[in-house]
Amino acid sequence: MKKKIVIVTILVIFGVFLALEACGIYLSGRGNVSHKTESIKSLQYLNSRNANLKKRISNLSPKGTYLVIDTAKNRLYVKKGEQTLKEVVVSTGSGSILNDPAGNRQWIFDTPRGELSIQSKTTNPVWTKPDWAFIEEGEEVPKSYKDRMEEGVLGDYAFHLGDGYMIHGTLYTRLLGRNVTHGCVRVGDADLKELYNTISIGTKVIIF
């Protein structure tokens, strides 16, 4: 008698499960694909539309040399078309958060993703320390602009990407290859010099 009840229960559960599956499949609308017969003429149109779209997309890619920065691997690639001309070990954003104890400001130290471009490049760059640099050290934010200037911390060269982000040198070469920066991209001295000599203003920088 017990055995019978168990078998019936299993069958009922199985039946309910099958019914649910059937309802789910029906409602999810699987297999709603219809194929219409096409003429050769419309096929030709489709092929030309396809080729046209591919061309339009490829026209969007940067012309000439461009930089690609992989923040996961901390690598910078100098590229031309699909060819990689140079690979450089860099440091990118730590992803840390800093809250201003005195106000409502918050900084997230990520390297921005997307397409940027080299807006300017400088030799012997001087760092104009932003507010977060003082707050992070537990120091008071200076009122004078002069007190924000710090020499020698950005290496010999810097590329400006906009919004305060830069590709620059570093004193902490042992941290190259790690995510330690406040969003800038740090490069070793020799590689930075080579980049400075080869990369021009306006060069596209793709960061992911």
Partner: protein
């Protein structure tokens, strides 16, 4: 008469086969055009975007049409309404077990360290940052219009197989119920389950930003 009949039959079959081939080719080209149109819309913007190409079992990371990274999808399960190739906003990513946490910088700690003149030995230096290794391998991505992508790592060993079996069972048990529930609510529902290598799973979580536009192609 027999020859004529045979010839007519051959011609008929040839026409049927050709029509079917054209129809298949045309459907494939139309799908590809939809994908290209969607990509063109996103590629016009200065952003990075993912293409989840379920048809060819690959995930592509691109920007301005340039391929930045290509990842292989090891396994796919698809349930729900067909997905058109269109730019889709990723609303939320949520890890199944442990969400990676950003480090909060404590300014007071820095001040204390400076005042006590603490020195760190080079070997003992620990980085307080989010890195690729901190990213989860099992998580869910929620897209606009009720599309969910669950990502799991491809693993070897007994525990991994056990987890895979239980997640597949859970998948087949829960999908119909969720479909019926969403039908009652009148909201669309599509659920996609992808298995990637551990490294690729971490990478997708790392690079895919919330509110970014991406394309799902099937």
């Amino acid at each position: 008469m027999k020859i004529l009949f045979s010839a007519l039959l051959v011609i008929f079959l040839a026409v049927v086969v050709k029509t079917e081939a054209i129809s298949q080719y045309s459907a494939g080209t139309k799908n590809e055009i939809n994908l290209l149109e969607a990509e063109l819309k996103v590629a016009k913007k200065p952003v990075i975007y993912f293409i989840f190409n379920l048809k060819d079992k690959e995930i592509l990371l691109k920007s301005r049409g340039i391929l930045l990274k290509e990842m292989k999808i090891e396994d796919i399960k698809f349930w729900g309404e067909p997905v058109d190739a269109a730019p889709r906003t990723m609303l939320k990513k949520s890890a199944l077990f442990k969400e990676p946490k950003r480090v909060n910088i404590d300014p007071n700690k820095a001040k204390e360290e400076t005042s006590t003149n603490t020195t760190t030995t080079p070997g003992a230096f620990e980085i307080e940052a989010l890195e690729l290794k901190d990213m989860p391998t099992t998580y869910r991505l929620e897209f606009h219009e009720g599309i969910f992508i669950s990502i799991s790592p491809k693993g070897a060993g007994f525990l991994s197989r056990l987890y895979k079996m239980s997640s597949y069972t859970g998948w087949y048990l829960s999908r119909p119920i969720l479909t019926i529930w969403n039908s009652i609510k009148g909201s669309p529902f599509t659920s996609i389950y992808l298995v990637l290598s551990e490294e690729d799973a971490r990478f997708v979580y790392w690079s895919l930003e919330e509110k970014s536009e991406n394309i799902i192609y099937k």
